[in-house]
């Protein structure tokens, strides 16, 4: 092997190592698709619940009234509320990152997030 070849091999090897290290550093962030249900009232995040299989029921008291939210391993839903329109309940169970159910009268927002945030799109127009 010539001297130049050795330098080449060294540089290529170092480059490959650094790239591998970079990928490893990034790895866990990408692979963990841990989803959470987030309950926001009046702009404040009140609860972040990991969707990990254990069903839970949470009663949220807002200044305007209450909402009961049920979460399980795959999604979340508003199952009961004393708001005048009940549209938060009609929105049903949500499972995909980026989806949400809103109770406008109570200023309550329930949404599913993953590590990246909102799933595959930046937002959705409706």
């Amino acid at each position: 092997m010539k001297r130049g070849d050795r330098i080449m091999a060294l540089i290529t090897g170092a480059g490959a190592l650094m790239m591998a290290a970079g990928l490893l550093m990034r790895g866990p962030e990408n692979t963990a698709s841990a989803r959470t249900a987030e309950i926001v009232v009046g702009g404040q995040v009140l609860h972040q619940i990991a969707l990990n299989g254990r069903p839970r029921e949470i009663r949220v008291e807002t200044p305007e009234g209450f909402n009961i939210i049920k979460t399980d391993g795959r999604g979340a839903a508003v199952i009961s509320a004393d708001c005048p329109d009940g549209s938060c309940i009609r929105m049903g169970r949500i499972t995909r990152p980026g989806t949400s159910a809103v109770c406008l009268p109570h200023r309550l927002l329930l949404r599913i997030r993953d590590k990246r945030g909102n799933g595959e799109v930046d937002s959705v127009t409706w």
């Binding site: 330098i7 080449m8 480059g15 049903g92 909102n118 930046d122 937002s123 959705v124 127009t125």
Partner: protein, 361 residues
């Protein structure tokens, strides 16, 4: 020169290329290069608002968020028909009298009247009597009697709105019992004003969501175009049938599925046909307009929904620059304008995609 010298040059060149590649890879991979994010969720403009801003410096970004929230709430106090002291309410309540308003309200009402004329009344900012009669989406929503609708319709239309500028002061006069309702255009205007503020403050990447009316500044924080979904009707909010890829743009949707009153198995939605005073019996489930000008996109999405397929086709043939996506009611079919072809992608393989507003006048 010896062979060894030449080979050294080659090696040096290879080393340089390697170094550049490694540098570029690291640049992409290292997290500290990423733009920081500040996010806020709010309730104003009668809806849910999300804002995300990206850049350097958490404090600066948080301040920007607070500024946008304050600006949005200030504008709502001018434009809302539901706030008794708003410019819009004072002008409507002042029946027959010139009422002084802010320059912002004057400019928006003027724009609304222009867009109403441009769409032959399909968009109508003086439909307040009708929206107040039905109250769809709020307490006391009901299906009025035909007689009430006819009486309310007589008090609608832009002929009843007059505008005047006098020595730097701005005035609006409303007559004939009409009520101004900017519900179909105000969110667009607020988005435009927020986008301008972001640019003035040096923010290069941001996403504004005013109850589903989207506006984006620049490109995504990581670079590249923003990917924005279009809501699938009757599915949880956030599920989409297609996406548009844009930068520095606004995307606004009008849909019959959003706010409605259900009575005896019939759904009465909130997009009224100014010619009948009733919820529009449209060919579309939803209409999405993609335009830099969010005020225009907001009013046009409503107008095109009201026009229906034939009306919209005719209008679009005269306005070839408009990018719009139409979801047909009860069919798995989407119509897109020529200008929207390059930005729209169907996300649902069972959707068929056709044209609207194409070929000749």
């Amino acid at each position: 020169m010896s062979t060894e010298g030449r080979s050294f040059k080659k090696t040096a060149a290879a080393a340089l290329i390697c170094a550049v590649v490694v540098f570029l890879c690291l640049n992409r991979l290292l997290p500290d290069k990423k733009a920081e994010e500040a996010r806020g969720d709010y309730f104003f403009l009668g809806t849910v608002v999300h804002i995300s801003v990206y850049g350097q410096g958490k404090d600066f970004l948080s301040e920007e968020l607070a500024g946008l929230e304050a600006e949005g709430k200030r504008l709502e106090k001018l434009f809302s028909a539901n706030i008794p002291e708003s410019d819009v309410r004072r002008a409507s309540d002042g029946q027959g009298k010139w009422v002084e308003v802010s320059e912002e309200t004057y400019a928006l009402v003027k724009r609304a009247v222009d867009l109403s004329e441009d769409t032959d009344g399909a968009f109508d900012p003086a439909l307040g009597r009708i929206t107040k009669l039905w109250k769809i989406g709020s307490d006391g929503a009901r299906v009025p009697e035909e007689e009430e609708i006819r009486a309310a319709l007589r008090c609608c239309g832009c002929k009843d709105i007059e505008l005047k500028e006098d020595d730097g002061a701005y005035f609006i006069k409303v007559t004939g019992g009409a009520l101004i309702d900017l519900g179909g255009i105000a969110k667009g205007r607020v988005a435009d004003i927020m986008v301008k503020k972001l640019a003035d403050d040096g923010i290069k990447s941001a996403l504004i969501d005013l109850g589903g009316n989207l506006a984006v500044t620049g490109e995504r924080p990581g670079g590249g175009k923003w990917r924005l979904g279009i809501q699938t009707p009757e599915r949880p909010r956030g599920e989409y049938f297609g996406t548009v890829s844009v930068s520095d743009c606004s995307v606004v949707t009008s849909g019959a599925y959003e706010r409605y009153l259900e009575k005896d198995g019939v759904r009465w939605h909130h997009i009224f046909d100014p010619s009948t005073g009733r919820p529009t019996d449209s060919d579309f489930s939803s209409v999405t307009v993609i335009d830099r000008d969010s005020t225009k996109a907001d009013a046009l999405s409503t107008a095109l929904f009201v026009m229906g397929r034939d009306g919209a086709d005719g209008y679009l043939k005269e306005h070839k620059d408009i990018a719009a996506v139409f979801l047909l009611k009860g069919e798995k079919r989407v119509l897109v304008t020529e200008a929207a072809r390059s930005v729209f992608t169907a996300a649902d393989a069972s959707l068929s995609v056709g044209d609207i507003g194409g070929a000749g006048k």
